[in-house]
Symmetry: C2
Subunit: 267 residues, 2 copies
Amino acid sequence: MTKREYAFNIVATFVKINKQMPVKMLTYRSRIQQDDLYSIPISDFFQSAFSVDCVIFGYHEGELKVLLIERGTEPYKNFWALPGDLVYPNEDLNASALRILKDLTSLTHIDVKQVHTFGRVDRHPLGRVITVAYVALVETQDLVPVASSWASKIKWHTLYRLPKLAFDHREILDSSLDDLRKLIKSEPIWTKVLPEKFTLTQLQLLFETVLNKQFDKGNFRKKIRGMKFLKKLNESEKSVAHRPSIYYKFDQPKFNEQKDGDYVFDL
Amino acid sequence: MTKREYAFNIVATFVKINKQMPVKMLTYRSRIQQDDLYSIPISDFFQSAFSVDCVIFGYHEGELKVLLIERGTEPYKNFWALPGDLVYPNEDLNASALRILKDLTSLTHIDVKQVHTFGRVDRHPLGRVITVAYVALVETQDLVPVASSWASKIKWHTLYRLPKLAFDHREILDSSLDDLRKLIKSEPIWTKVLPEKFTLTQLQLLFETVLNKQFDKGNFRKKIRGMKFLKKLNESEKSVAHRPSIYYKFDQPKFNEQKDGDYVFDL
DNA sequence: TCAAAAGTGTTATAGGTACACCCATGT
DNA sequence: ACATGGGTGTACCTATAACACTTTTGA
């Protein structure tokens, strides 16, 4: 079978499923030439399209938030939503997540991880769009998100008290929070949220916040001592009205040796 | 902004990215009317398409295999590949996985779980196709896969000794094996591979095979005793030339109570 | 000297590892 | 009676959880 035959097979399948030839667009010829594009349904251009939605969790001093934009465009205009958009045909998924994030929120250099893909047929009111969810964990104070492109507002929203979201974004958010909790135990994504030199109290508060769970100070520290990739420094806090805390730092090479696929932070 | 305006925006974006109007298809008008479809590139119909690839792991008595088909069609004709195909526009992802599996392998009633999505721009030689991977674990002896549709052969392949696979299927397979190993610890997918009444030796061999790791008999059993959702029956093996083994069964309700997101089989 | 938070130590209990040993069955 | 694999028990060690205690700083 040649490439030409293959193409023919694809068209045959298309016809079988859609009960029509994919030339429906021909009927729009005159309107397109007159630049009258308004009446052409989206689905004629994206028979099936894919998008990326970014679930950006923001952490700061014991508070976990999520970055939402207000949609300035239909559908779901004026609804709060995850920053997300269609993937360009010539763009890798990961790159797309970063580009979309930059377009809508002005954020750059974010370390995103793919989680789940959502593909319910009716999840987008204007056509078939499947969406790949990406999560990231960032320190809110390090960043200044600015709404741009079709995003009309942007805001860090406290989890547990969220407005009604566009599309199935609530489902995506909930699922991604679960994924974040798994990720933070196995991947060093938490390093993006702490300063290079951090105290164990900072580390504990971070894990308590993300995992929504309290830990005993002594036991937490005992566990840390067993982790070779957390290196104690000869430096400590200054000018605090209590015993100064010793700084630690993350040792990436040591981490790479140790990790073998399982949870590293087994908390 | 109305739906019409929204459609216009989409088109504008399309033009910006592709440096052309999406009316390229008009140039094929005469060929289409003459039913001469061979020369039309697939990408004109699926500007971007999505597919599903099924990684079906087959288990039987201490052996783990993966179900592959030989492609009877271009591209990668005569290569071994994961059973996978394009998703229909009106089909949910999960349903698509089951349909594709049935089309290519004749298998039905398989419990598949979504894992990772692969979207490299050049992963499909004939156009942009992103693919969602699904995994399943089945007992090879329960099923008789039969190659159909464009699959020319079908075979259970031993892991660790695989032929060169089509597309990026080797990468998908490797990543999905990792996912299977995580899944089997947290979800009761292993129940599909054992008879309803099974012995602890059977269970241990299964976990050893999938996780590629040996366990101590006594310690394995001690752990099992702590799992309320594994119920000891008053029944045992018959006609074996050694002490007969006691049967156990899986208690789904008890399992649902216990599981709280983390690994249940912490092996 | 006191408040505040860092940091250590102690205990009882649970769980893990390695191994030896006994048990029930068919031949 | 013995080979075979099922099944249990023990001893040692290491985690875990809860809690009390000591240390270092600025005010």
